[in-house]
Symmetry: C2
């Protein structure tokens, strides 16, 4: 469902070059539930952004559902992602002027649902992430973990076929972290949505079927987790 | 070193009132190494901000080193904190236009050190948090964990007598998380700096001498951790 072939990503700022990815080749199959782990700065966020068509590789190719997306421009990439890929950012990227409810609803507004369908779906998600009492608050009126749960609900809203989650549990307590992993596990098992998580949280990789390890911009382990 | 007496904090937005703290009384003694835990939304960030004089209680009193600070205005509170209290925010609050090095240096600029003293101290901190290669990058050129380490180094820079850390390890891998907890433990043991951490990370409370548990804005456990 997403494949990268020999991708590199070099960030150049002034005359400083950072080789965030140094040649990564990976395929993610439909239905996977995969954790991407590795030290801070190893390139996890960078790789997720390439896999999710949010960024372009410096060299190498990226394929989404078999289509080469490496050379699409920004607008073409946005069209590619819409409805197909859901992203949970490491630091949420919520719209500050919208409430939790409205933030979660945004992906549904782009997809031609009726207001009744949207309301039903948003309320279902609000309950799933345990935010019923905070639904009409804006991000700056929410705690760190509450904001993170809004971002998670939003990524799930239009049930995309691929969800890329960057540190989804970093600000969550054990209860919510577990709840979120179980929502995602159930979605994966019942509907086959593909999940790739970048995480430092050992509680998260115990749910993963496969664990990929990055170090210094290279894949050092591409294996199966002991779970499967 | 910091004491709160029957503090409440109510956030009022339009006609919605949120009782984030409902009457908390706690004393933190000099030299403590204390974890503040509790579910998402239980009031940890709010309590840390009151203890650190970054916010005012709705009712009740806050004392810093015996002095009642509950009714100080914003400027007076800033003077109170300077040099005395170091804060690690849940989402870093780094200055985006400054490099990692410059961000870490900021507290030292306010304290009358010579340039040579500042350089020595900043370099020591940069090495301690393992950011030597990223010292001259700005926050938007750093990974999540790297930004968090800049914030940690900055809070330690002028060796304040009290450090309040909100989720200091949320974006750190095991290695860096451990390194940071050991830096803080050593500082506490060698120089008596007082630490209060709000955290969901089980790895963090194993270092704590005392664990305070919040739930729905109230302290439900004020105990010692099994470690001591
Ligand atoms: N500025 C604000 N305006 C309105 N409500 C707020 C504001 N800041 C926090 N709250 C609310 O106050 C309650 C406590 O928030 P707080 O941030 O202290 O929780 P927390 O324990 O730090 O949670 P987390 O573990 O998710 O970071 C939450 O219900 C939150 O939504
Ligand atoms: N916009 C940017 N400009 C320059 N360098 C960058 C940029 N974004 C990331 N980097 C650098 O690229 C490397 C990889 O960063 P990335 O964010 O992918 O790491 P990560 O594995 O997600 O780390 P963490 O676990 O700390 O979130 C790091 O050294 C980082 O400093
Ligand atoms: Mg990252
Ligand atoms: Mg918080």
């Amino acid at each position: 469902v997403t494949k990268v072939e020999n991708v590199t990503r070099v960030y150049t700022v002034g005359d400083v070059e950072t080789h965030a990815l140094r040649g990564v080749t990976l395929g993610i199959q439909p239905g996977e539930f995969t954790a991407l782990v590795g030290p801070s700065g190893s390139g996890k966020t960078t790789l997720l952004q390439l896999m999710g068509c949010l960024d372009q590789p410096t060299s190498g190719q990226v394929f989404i559902n078999g289509k080469d997306v490496s050379q699409l421009n920004r607008n073409q990439r946005a069209d590619m992602r819409r409805g197909t890929i859901g992203f949970i950012f490491q630091f949420f990227a919520l719209i500050p002027t919208l409430t939790a409810y409205e933030n979660i609803e945004v992906p549904l507004l782009l997809n031609g649902h009726t207001p009744a369908e949207r309301r039903k779906r948003v309320q279902q998600l609000i309950e799933a992430v345990d935010l019923v009492e905070r639904a009409h608050h804006r991000p700056d009126q929410l705690s760190g973990g509450q904001q993170q749960r809004v971002a998670i609900a939003r990524a799930l809203a239009s049930t995309p076929s691929l969800i890329l989650a960057d540190e989804p549990t970093a600000n969550l307590d054990t209860e919510n972290g577990k709840q979120v992993m179980e929502i995602m596990t159930r979605l994966n098992q019942e509907t086959g949505v593909t999940f790739v998580f970048a995480t430092h949280d050992p509680r998260v990789f115990t749910y993963a079927h496969r664990v990929i390890t990055l170090q210094d911009g290279l894949v050092v382990e591409n294996g199966k987790s002991p779970r499967k």
